[in-house]
Homo-oligomer: 228 residues x 2
DNA sequence: TGGCTAAGTGTTAATTTTACACTAATTAAT
DNA sequence: ATTAATTAGTGTAAAATTAACACTTAGCCA
């Protein structure tokens, strides 16, 4: 798939696609089926077409891999060491995406090779400089989740406060006080009580909430700053 | 200087070089001497050589223009719209630099055209998409200055607390309480009293301080977070 | 020596953050 | 039907931080 005609200079995009599943933060990786780095996990990515905006190219990677169009996707950083790609000069721009693991299925046909959700804790290396890219994106996620309401992108539309707290705890790799966390979140007035319960467990059922995007936009216009 | 052989795909870097002079935040711009955008101000930038790391390329722009090697320089974002450059497909990575205006002089020979410090408030357009790049970098500067001790990069090595406060006020475009500002800064223990005064004005002289980089590094290693 | 100018300085009230432990609601097992 | 197990849900008080606010000091100049 890599066309040598690109190789004097080529642009690519690579996506760190975060998902939260079974209390663990995971990223969507593809297993390389050829050299170099044959057999290693790599970030999904592609070369940028000459007639394609950089941002669009990242959208395309994501859509081809997951079938999803409307996901949170943001540029992170560009990696441009001369020798970062063994086959030639390729500068790559990293994007990070936040998806709800629940509401999509991988499109297997789109890739020659295996794709899978891998817990971030299990990883210690990736193909190319992708591990460094991952670290950069993870750092950004940690910062972002504290000052922007991006965590909700990783949860199903309706969630409990415990779900939300677990998400924060696993991303920030820390534990939070339950009462203080709830107070803080609820005081922001960004969650709407959907008047339903998460039931079916051998314990007290939990209220479900939904994040109110519109309210957030309105508040933000007035200078409100989200912060956990 | 622009070589058509680059033009199918080319990389460039553009630098937003901030300086603080006479109570105003300025950026270093060059006047274009040819089409397109002939006569407009533009960000200093250049094409990336095939054998040159992206980051190094930004360093090179800065050094060629200012003669300075050791300045604060950090990658910001990459701009990759298909039509952003009228002459072909050029993806550019923006960097922002913080320099002490006092301790350097422009190298006029390095450029065919004029270079100058322009107050940021005076600008409403630039060549190419450079005004958008400027806005992005300025936003980042505003964020950065509040949570990282980068403001000192813009001041001479020795400065008064009033100097520092004026810097913050002009970057953040707000006014700050003098006593609270001083308390906060001094409480961080990052400034050392150089036991000298800024004299020669028709008023009480002011103490001079110096930022202690090493102390900051040590504190940060212990989890200290800079915040104004 | 008096006037001008910016430097320097503390206290109090308000707000925010932290620490902390029991009761409530449901399911599963007996 | 009762009990055990499990997580949901809740309030208060102390501590820390932030915000508001005005006068005295030191040097220059006329």
């Amino acid at each position: 798939m890599i066309d040598t005609q690109f190789f004097n200079f080529a642009f690519s995009v690579d996506c760190v696609i975060f998902g939260f599943d079974q209390d663990a933060l995971k990223i969507l990786l593809i297993r390389r089926g050829q050299k170099p780095f044959d057999g290693d996990w790599a970030l999904p990515g592609n070369l940028v077409f000459p007639n394609e905006d950089l941002d669009f190219s990242a959208t395309r990677v994501l859509e081809e891999l997951t079938g999803m169009k409307k996901v949170f996707l943001e540029q992170v950083q560009t990696f441009g060491k001369v020798d970062r790609h063994p086959l030639g000069r390729v500068i790559t721009t990293a994007y990070f995406a936040l998806v709800k693991v629940s509401d999509f299925s991988l499109i297997p046909s789109s890739l020659a090779s295996e794709a899978a959700w891998v817990p971030i804790r299990d990883l210690d290396h990736l193909a190319f400089d992708h591990f460094e890219i991952l670290r950069t994106c993870y750092e950004l996620l940690k910062k972002s989740i504290r000052v922007r309401p991006v965590g909700f992108e990783l949860l199903p539309p309706e969630f409990t406060l415990t779900d939300l707290q677990l998400l924060y705890e696993s991303i920030l790799e820390t534990s939070l006080d339950k009462r203080n966390f709830r107070k803080k979140i609820l005081a922001m007035n960004l969650l709407v009580d959907v008047k339903a319960m998460k039931r079916g467990f051998a314990h007290r059922p939990a209220k479900l909430y939904r994040f109110d995007e519109d309210k957030y936009k309105a508040f933000r216009a007035e200078g409100f700053v989200f912060e956990i």
